[in-house]
Amino acid sequence: MSIDFLPDKPIYQQLIDRITGEIIRGNVKPGEKLPSVREYAVEVGVNANTMQRVYKELEMMRISETKRGQGTFVTDNETRLQQLRDEVKEGLVESFLNSIEALGFSKKEMIEFIQTRERGEKQ
């Protein structure tokens, strides 16, 4: 299935986000083999050169490793994967804070609102 890309961000970046998202969600497990560059390119309908770049970047980020003659695997380094989780969390919070700041909400106000909402859902 081809996917829709956001217009204002490089395609390779969006693919990196997509793969790291799958890892964080647990759909792709530590140590699991990733599809080949060509297979993945066909699956999402992107240029193989773009996919090559995605795999190269993931490797540089130490999220994946290529074993000669065997293919590319998600790292089984749990520390690195925990770090990745934290990085993504940080990114989400950062963008949330930017959004509320732009609209003039205070952090305190939002935290209180989230807590009230949580209590409401539990009852």
């Binding site: 217009p7 395609i11 992107v46």
Partner: protein, 240 residues
């Protein structure tokens, strides 16, 4: 590498191409975009050696493009009428007699991948399946260059997706180059390394897709529309 220098093409008084300079490196998928009548088809035909420029030079791998360049370049025309009385198999057999680089079994693998029955006559196939068969015949050639004129036009999204997947699956990104004209920019964009924007027979811009997104923070359609508007306003049509 394909290299064009000061290429001009006139049809009577109409100037289809005005001083085009262009370098296309190997191993890229490049989109040729622009409004109707901007010169896209003419440019493809000139590179394919199917029409001669009024002036200027075109070289493909250092060899001047003439009719004989057809053996290096796989050109796929826009036309829907494509040997109607042939079966798909017969079409492939015919291609085999015409092109030294045609690989019959590769064409059959592509056809199978695109779910085209080999025994079916082209005229009995749906328009979408004729498009898939045409693509299979083209990709059956082990050419260094594929020149595709509007490979998606007139097809529904499923056929377009199949054609895109066939292109990714059956071309080698390191050695083969695809140059294709298209109006379906949104769908083609993820497939492309770079985009050449033609406007009134001139190259208005030639940019990598990721650069457009990264530097200008816009997708290719927005970028193209903006450039054409600016170009028309300022009358400035030159680039590179």
């Amino acid at each position: 590498m394909i290299a064009l220098e000061q290429v001009e093409k006139n049809y009577g008084k109409k100037q289809a191409l005005k001083g085009v300079n262009l370098i296309i490196p190997p191993g890229k998928i490049i989109g040729l975009v622009g409004e109707n009548g901007s010169g896209k088809s003419t440019l493809l035909k000139i590179i394919a050696g199917l029409t001669t420029p009024s002036s200027g030079t075109i070289q493909v791998n250092g060899i001047k493009a003439t009719r004989s360049i057809a053996s290096k370049v796989a050109y796929m025309p826009d036309a829907d009428v494509f040997y109607p009385i042939f079966s798909v198999e017969k079409l492939f057999r015919f291609y085999e007699t015409q092109f030294e680089d045609f690989n019959y079994s590769k064409a059959c693998i592509v056809a199978q991948y695109l779910n085209i029955p080999l025994e079916a006559k082209l005229k009995t196939l749906s328009k979408g399946n004729r498009g898939r068969a045409k693509m299979a015949a083209t990709l059956g050639r082990e050419a260094s260059y594929y020149l595709l004129d509007e490979p998606f036009s007139g097809f529904d999204p499923l056929v377009r997706e199949d054609i895109i997947k066939g292109m990714i699956q059956f071309t080698d990104p390191e050695t083969q180059t695809v140059l294709m004209s298209t109006h379906e920019i949104k769908e083609a964009e993820p497939l492309l390394d770079a985009i050449i924007l033609l406007n009134h027979g001139k190259i208005l811009a030639y940019e990598e897709v990721e650069t457009i997104r990264d530097q200008f923070r816009m997708d290719s359609i927005t970028w193209m529309t903006k450039l054409i508007k600016e170009g028309d306003l300022s009358g400035n049509e030159t680039y590179r």
